[in-house]
Subunit: 383 residues, 2 copies
Amino acid sequence: MQSICAVEGVTAAGIKEGKYGLALIKAEGTAAAAFTKNIARAGPVILMQERIKHGRLAAIISNSGCANALTGQRGIDDAVEMASIAAEELSLDPREVGVASTGVISRYLNLPLIKDQCHRIAPLLERSPLAEISAAKAIMTTDLVEKHSLVRREGFTIGGICKGSGMIAPNMGTMLGYVYTDAEISASDLQVALKTAVKRSFNRVVVDGDTSTNDVVFCTATSTAGKVPLNEFTAALEECCVSLGRQIASDGEGATKLIEVIVRGARSEDEADLAARTVVGSPLVKTAIYGEDPNWGRIVAAAGRSGAEFDPEKVSCWISGSGLKAAVCERGVLTEDLKTAKASLAGREVQIELDLAAGNGKAIAWGCDLTEKYVEINGKYTT
Amino acid sequence: MQSICAVEGVTAAGIKEGKYGLALIKAEGTAAAAFTKNIARAGPVILMQERIKHGRLAAIISNSGCANALTGQRGIDDAVEMASIAAEELSLDPREVGVASTGVISRYLNLPLIKDQCHRIAPLLERSPLAEISAAKAIMTTDLVEKHSLVRREGFTIGGICKGSGMIAPNMGTMLGYVYTDAEISASDLQVALKTAVKRSFNRVVVDGDTSTNDVVFCTATSTAGKVPLNEFTAALEECCVSLGRQIASDGEGATKLIEVIVRGARSEDEADLAARTVVGSPLVKTAIYGEDPNWGRIVAAAGRSGAEFDPEKVSCWISGSGLKAAVCERGVLTEDLKTAKASLAGREVQIELDLAAGNGKAIAWGCDLTEKYVEINGKYTT
């Protein structure tokens, strides 16, 4: 097993019929969640921001094809009903069922379909390699590949699935992540660990800079493995989320290359974060990487407008990939190794390293190149 | 005359040889300036931020083809020398010569070429329709059209030229604006008026969200028309700058449509500004407009992540163009007039109006659609 079903206590099932999919995941335990920061929030997000305060989940029901977003009070009511459908099918407390949606916005949920799909897949819940794949596939929209992550540590395991590849045509897409662990951890500790992990993973993935109305990450701890050191758990959770975040960036709409931007030497982690996300989100950097052009001026200019404080005359920058690494700028001075830099951009993964020489803050962000295909996906195929 | 030469006291000349251009504009008076907020600033920007404090300009020398950016102390020294070249040719105090550059970054200025071009065009300085055109053409890089603006009021005139069409291949572009008036106005009043005008015009133009290292707007008042009411002057200056800003958006790299986003009902002008700039800069909104898809969910979602506070359930949105206007969402509820909305997107100019229903703040921002051509310009043609 490669993700959630590797965790004891987790069973899963999924179905995809045309563009309408449904995933069910059953696992009881303490739980935490992270939500979109967009103030335009979908019905299930508004509901779960309240319900997660109890700190427990027994199951998750998650549909694709309809985002149940910008649907007003009816959207919230429908999310309540969707949770009840799963609760009834699985004999659970509906307040302990996580609910999330992704797909077309400003349409109402097809609740009869969801009820029917739920009824058909509930008997299929199991802990198996196929089960976790079917759940991961069920929540995909324009994703090209399903996304799994598994981190094993001495004494505990963390596994997760997610979907997302930008804000997606024909209307908008979403990042959904479901992470499970067998570690025993309190809901409040889990919330703190998840917040840190999400900040350093999903929140540092920039495909197009747009934020969905539906983004959510649920993390449930089944406790079967007993207590574990909190710092070890937090580090492992971050690793699991980073792996999932990288897979989202890599599957970005129209992407041909995964871009990893490492900023160090910032005055703080927050400033490193700002600079890394601005560089990886810059259309000029993204198009330059697509064109395999080691245009370091665009990189420094993007960092310069990010809000991070530094002296551009002291900046150093490296570009690496395809087993090559080239300094393109050392302490503000252009190095003439642009040939190696260009060659390093030829592969599927590219790394940009930026030393701002202003402190000890460090952050990594992930994104992808900007291609004609992105424009085609989001512009040419109209609703 | 359609821009700067309509202002008494202004003479201009320009030359463009291949990608290397030089503009000279002579006009003595009180002066103010606005500069890029990017902390990675080009040599001429660093120099002029100091020199403009004297509040006077007698001339401007401005080259295209080389941005003199990320060139360290030598870049600043070269900018000093460039000002001196013009000062010597025109017998002026070099501290009263404005200097600005645009073009390829991390290359040093070709000062012998600039000196030679300056020497050849200085005798051509005149106040004529052709003179202002030659100056406007001389500062173009990947601009497809030259940009002029003229605002006439009872008692005074304001005229301006500018260049800019995004951060431009092969390296980066820039927004340069040179505005003149015959009004008599103190340097400090001029600085305040210019700051407001730039905030409401150039700073609300989003082509790709990248900010150049070289952006500058100079405004010189020759005083020949005598004193004018400050509020009238400020409004006229804003109108002149808005016209130039719109022309930059319209000439955005790869653009097929000008997008104007009007946000009203925000809690403050600053929040309206945030929302308007975020909507017009959203890749998903830009690609939807390109595809002529009235996807109002993307518009509301972009406003929702902008930082402006509002209740998404109360938002109204209209789309207009080609003589049509359609409400796509009224107080949070989708209207079914998407057919009219789609037809309104067919033309060269599109207007999006968003009422956040949260207060009285209003702002307008301008941008353009995102097309495959943008990716091609910035990605495929490598350095």
